[in-house]
């Protein structure tokens, strides 16, 4: 390797590149947001399952990409089941409801299930751009829930006696799910900002 001696000399003169002074602090901040899978024994971990800890882990603590993705997947799974139930159940309903938005609910549920699953996969990309897309999609989802809820109500009012409790339960459930997903994205976004933004 004698012919490369000159190159080696240049390499020796190249100064090493050092990380920023707060690098260790930033890594440790990131570590603190990870799932504490390395900590403690079984007893110690079980003791963390107090109601307060559960509420904190669900609504306050930063979420990892896996947790965030899992929530979207589960929401998608819920809509998949809902779609199957609707597809099977709506066929048996009398002819006066066989019109408009109501008959499209099964297809809409499948579409939402697919969309939420795709968002769950997108979150795993761990990029800020992907997160922004997910956040926008969650907002669109919340908007669509409201619009579809209203349309459903008008359709059923014109075709059958209104069932307000059922309608409110459907609407509130869907909006709460949207709010929960938005919160999960926010929690993950916060974590992402803490660790990546400079």
């Amino acid at each position: 390797m004698d012919g490369n001696q000159h190159i080696m000399e240049i390499i020796k003169t190249a100064p090493p590149v050092s990380p920023p002074p707060d690098f260790t602090d930033r890594v440790m901040a990131r570590i603190r947001t990870l799932d504490p899978s390395l900590e403690g024994e079984g007893v110690q971990r079980r003791s963390q399952w107090s109601p307060k800890a559960v509420v904190r882990s669900l609504f306050v603590a930063p979420a990892t990409a896996s947790e965030c993705s899992f929530c979207f997947m589960m929401a998608g799974f819920f809509y998949l089941i809902l779609g199957i139930v609707l597809a099977a159940g709506l066929r048996g309903i009398g002819g006066h409801l066989h019109q408009g938005w109501i008959m499209h609910q099964a297809a809409a549920s499948f579409a939402v299930a697919f969309g939420l699953g795709a968002l769950g996969l997108l979150v795993r990309k761990k990029s800020l751009r992907a997160l922004n897309i997910v956040r926008l999609c969650v907002l669109i989802y919340c908007g669509l829930v409201l619009v579809i809820g209203m349309l459903l109500q008008f359709q059923t009012e014109s075709a059958a006696p209104a069932n307000y409790p059922a309608w409110l339960a459907f609407l509130a459930g869907s909006i709460l799910m949207g709010a929960f997903l938005a919160l999960v994205v926010y929690r993950y976004r916060g974590m992402h900002a803490n660790t990546v933004a400079h």
């Binding site: 240049i10 390499i11 003169t13 090493p16 050092s18 920023p20 690098f23 260790t24 570590i31």
Partner: protein
């Protein structure tokens, strides 16, 4: 870098002393960051990759074989992340040329009396480094920049020592050819 100390720290972390991980980060952040920087040529990407590497090491610490040395394992993880990052970058911008080597903004200030000729050669070398294929680049970084023995380079790259020597040799050959390339002096 004392292997025995590393093992003691790992045991402390696995027993719940999470703060002890800061000692490991402090110990290895320099070479890991340097590796990430020389693979990507970009300060911010290197910082993100190095952070990701240490987070991955922490997550996988339970799987680490304590009979082995920690340092090559951390290097392997950092290199895998860098490879994936470079692949992703190529997929996202396949038409673009390799990025220009960016001088770190927080590097120590240069000595004004430093030989400008040598400095220019270092700059050209850095740019040529980024034009090397990643497999040659990583071998040159480990062997020549980080001064690791071939045995360790081969262990980290998961190739035979002979193959590691070959990669380093080919990498240096390409760098040497490129030092006379007039294109390099045009790019600043």
């Amino acid at each position: 870098m004392n292997d025995e100390q590393d093992r003691e720290i790992i045991v402390r972390i696995l027993n719940g002393d999470r703060q002890a991980y800061a000692i490991l980060v402090d110990r290895y952040k320099g070479p890991v960051f340097d590796l990430a920087y020389r693979m990507t040529g970009n300060w911010h990407e290197a910082e993100e990759l190095a952070q990701e590497a240490f987070a991955t090491v922490y997550e996988k610490l339970r799987d680490f074989n304590k009979d082995k040395r920690l340092f090559p394992w951390i290097y392997t993880i950092a290199l895998n992340l860098a490879r994936n990052h470079l692949k992703k970058r190529r997929r996202e911008a396949p038409e673009t040329l390799p990025p220009i080597y960016q001088e770190p903004t927080r590097e120590r200030p240069r000595d004004p009396e430093e030989d400008t000729m040598v400095q220019e050669e270092v700059n050209i070398l850095n740019r040529r480094m980024l034009r090397l294929p990643p497999d040659l680049r990583e071998a040159v970084v480990l062997r020549c920049f980080h001064d690791l023995p071939f045995q360790e380079v081969s262990q980290i790259l998961k190739i035979s020592p002979a193959a590691a020597k070959m990669r380093v040799y080919r990498g240096l050959e390409r760098l040497r050819e490129g030092l006379g390339d007039p294109d390099d002096s045009k790019v600043s």
